[in-house]
Amino acid sequence: MSRNHILEQIRRNRPQTPASLPEHIFFAQQRFGAQDNLLSFVPGLPLGDPDVLSVTNPHAFAGVEVAVLPASFGVAENGAVWLREEDFGGHRALPFLTQHLVIALKKTELVATMHEAYARPEVAGTGFGMFLAGPSKTADIEQALVIGAHGARSLMVVGYQA
């Protein structure tokens, strides 16, 4: 009797993991604080100043704290995601200027190896695309790994159910 009661209590009270993408993004916002300099290019989740989103001068993104970008797919062998410019407004500098990166990745869009990655249609034809495997880093100072060299200081990948 007590066993079932205890388990029921636990189930009711345990922290809930976000179910939908908007809930995930909200969680990310909470984590990084201010919403003012957060930009999102995830379809269905427009966040951020629309004026900033329509600029052509890449320097405009110098003050962005958090950028939320959609990835085409992920590669299992190395933890990289493929990002192409058309999915974040063609603003190539944004993923590098932002202090923090959040990547939205559909859980079903995973390939095992780079060979499969290069066969994906999203790789061909884009003016600029990249495999992104983490936050910026360097070990140039006596081999000590430092995260957050010149690019993003952190990277969070949010896997969600479409």
Binding site: T56, P58, H59, A62, V75, E77, N78, G79, A80, E85, G90, R92, A93, P95, F96, L97, T113, M114, H115, A117, Y118, A119, V123, A124, G125, T126, G127, F128, G129, M130, F131, L132, A133, G134, P135, S136, K137, T138, A139, D140, I141, E142, Q143, A144, V146, G148, A149, H150, G151, A152
Partner: protein
């Protein structure tokens, strides 16, 4: 200054040599762990080797294909026969726009062409943005490793350099603190740059696109913020198809640093709207190298640095000992093609252990080529009188049995009765070596007595 002389200087500080050696061997071990996690590793190496060999056999066709596709993409293509033409081309583009502020990400090719001093002489501010390269740029040194430019520098020394140039706290050596200071400083440079120069890891003939791999993101911060992007490429960086990138990107970072992939693998196919994108295809001895059947495979190199990390001579002599933009085993087999006389000492900076050949992701027969370059150096008369006379004399002793026996008897006598004649600092063989215990008789004498 020969490699041997430079290495002597480097070896005066033995604890430092041990530190350098350990640091590089650690990187080699990371490579091993990464390779062991890919069951088809050897298959990948073989594939990469064959793709590169095929490409070299059709190099002109692929270069023309690439040029056609790249032009159609809106990328302007230039061809430079040598380092001087490359430098002039780059300067011309900068001057056309009236620019003076340039940022540059890691490119061993531009190092080979001595681009920085040329541009500086012409009034251009050129900032190397890879952290390791910025450190050596401040210190007015060349990079000592093709992937880890500052591997020879301790964090306290970086701290001193940054204190002088960036105003960081005196005596500070925490890598996190120092990197943060560099981040702020270089961010200013990225935002203020008018033109960005990058290298090229791979150029794809099928699509006219090229790939640049970094961990820091500095190549992208340069290219995506500047109005003009110049990518500089050795002509051997061409690969036929996009799908081949799968093979090379799986091998590159694992071989270089033991990572499954670099943080950023950026694929450039078209300039961004309003931007000018240029690509300079550089020869500088490569087409001549292609014409040397015994040495052309060195052009397969993808500049991963694995051979440097494993080489016992590189680890214990340091990159600056090689007086060449590219040091280590691959440097040894590339440099003599450019200038045989100046680099005649390099093929002898090796024990021929073959470790380099074992780790090369594209299966270049590095240590065999090192040995073959020695023959070329010898035949050209650049081996130095001491070596020449020594080999000639050794040849004469080894090819005459009576002389050989007499020589053996003499050495055994000297080692037993007057060892100081050989065990002294004027005998170059005795430095850093133990001479063997002299046996009482030669094997031949023993055999004749006991058969």
């Amino acid at each position: 200054m020969t490699h041997a002389r430079n290495a002597d200087t480097f070896n005066r500080d033995e604890p430092r040599v041990d530190w350098h050696d350990t640091a590089l061997w650690f990187v080699r071990q990371k490579r091993d762990r990464a390779a062991a996690q890919v069951p088809e590793w050897e298959e990948l190496r073989e594939l990469a080797s064959r793709i590169k060999a095929h490409t070299l056999a059709c190099l002109d066709d692929y270069l023309v294909d690439f040029e056609q596709k790249a032009l159609a993409n809106g990328i302007r293509i230039h061809w430079a026969a040598d380092a001087a033409e490359h430098n002039r081309l780059v300067l011309d583009i900068i001057r056309q726009h009236g620019f003076t502020r340039v940022v540059k990400s890691k490119s061993m090719l531009t190092e080979e062409c001595h681009l920085n001093p040329f541009l500086e002489k012409n009034g251009i501010e050129i900032v190397d943005t890879d952290l390791g390269e910025r450190i050596v740029q401040f210190r007015k040194e060349p990079p000592s490793h093709i992937v880890l430019p500052a591997i020879h520098i301790k964090k306290e020394e970086v701290g001193d350099t940054f204190h002088t140039h960036l105003g960081t706290a005196k005596g500070a050596s925490d890598p996190q603190y120092l990197t943060e200071a560099a981040r702020g400083h270089l961010r200013e440079k990225f935002l203020g740059a008018e033109l960005a120069i990058t290298g090229v890891n791979f150029a794809v003939a099928q699509t006219g696109a090229f790939v640049v791999c970094t961990n820091e993101g500095n190549a992208d911060l340069g290219a995506h913020l500047a109005r003009v992007h110049i990518a500089c490429m050795g002509l051997e960086k061409i690969i036929p198809k996009t799908e081949h990138l799968g093979v090379f990107l799986r091998l590159l970072a694992r071989s270089a640093t033991g990572q499954p992939i670099t943080t950023y693998s950026s694929h450039f196919q078209r300039p961004r709207p309003g931007q000018e994108m240029h690509l300079v295809i550089v020869d500088n001895g490569r087409s001549a190298h292609l014409g040397r059947p015994e040495f052309r495979d060195a052009l397969k190199c993808i500049r991963c640095g694995a051979c440097l990390n494993t080489c016992p001579v590189y680890r214990r002599s340091g990159g600056h000992s090689y007086h060449n933009a590219v040091a280590g085993p691959i440097g040894i087999i590339l440099a003599p093609n450019l200038d045989l006389k100046k680099n005649a000492d390099l093929p002898f900076a090796s024990t021929l252990c073959g470790s380099c050949t074992n780790v090369c992701p594209v299966k270049i027969d590095i240590h065999d080529q090192i040995w073959r370059w020695r023959q070329v150096v010898g035949e050209a008369g650049h081996a130095g009188w001491f070596k020449r006379l020594g080999i000639r004399w050794m040849n004469s002793v080894l090819s005459h049995p009576k002389r050989f026996r007499l020589f053996g008897k003499m050495v055994r006598r000297v080692l037993r009765f007057a060892p100081f004649l050989l065990k002294n600092r004027w005998n170059p063989w005795f430095n850093n070596r133990e001479l063997p215990e002299a046996p009482r008789e030669s094997f031949r004498d023993w055999y004749l007595k006991n058969k």
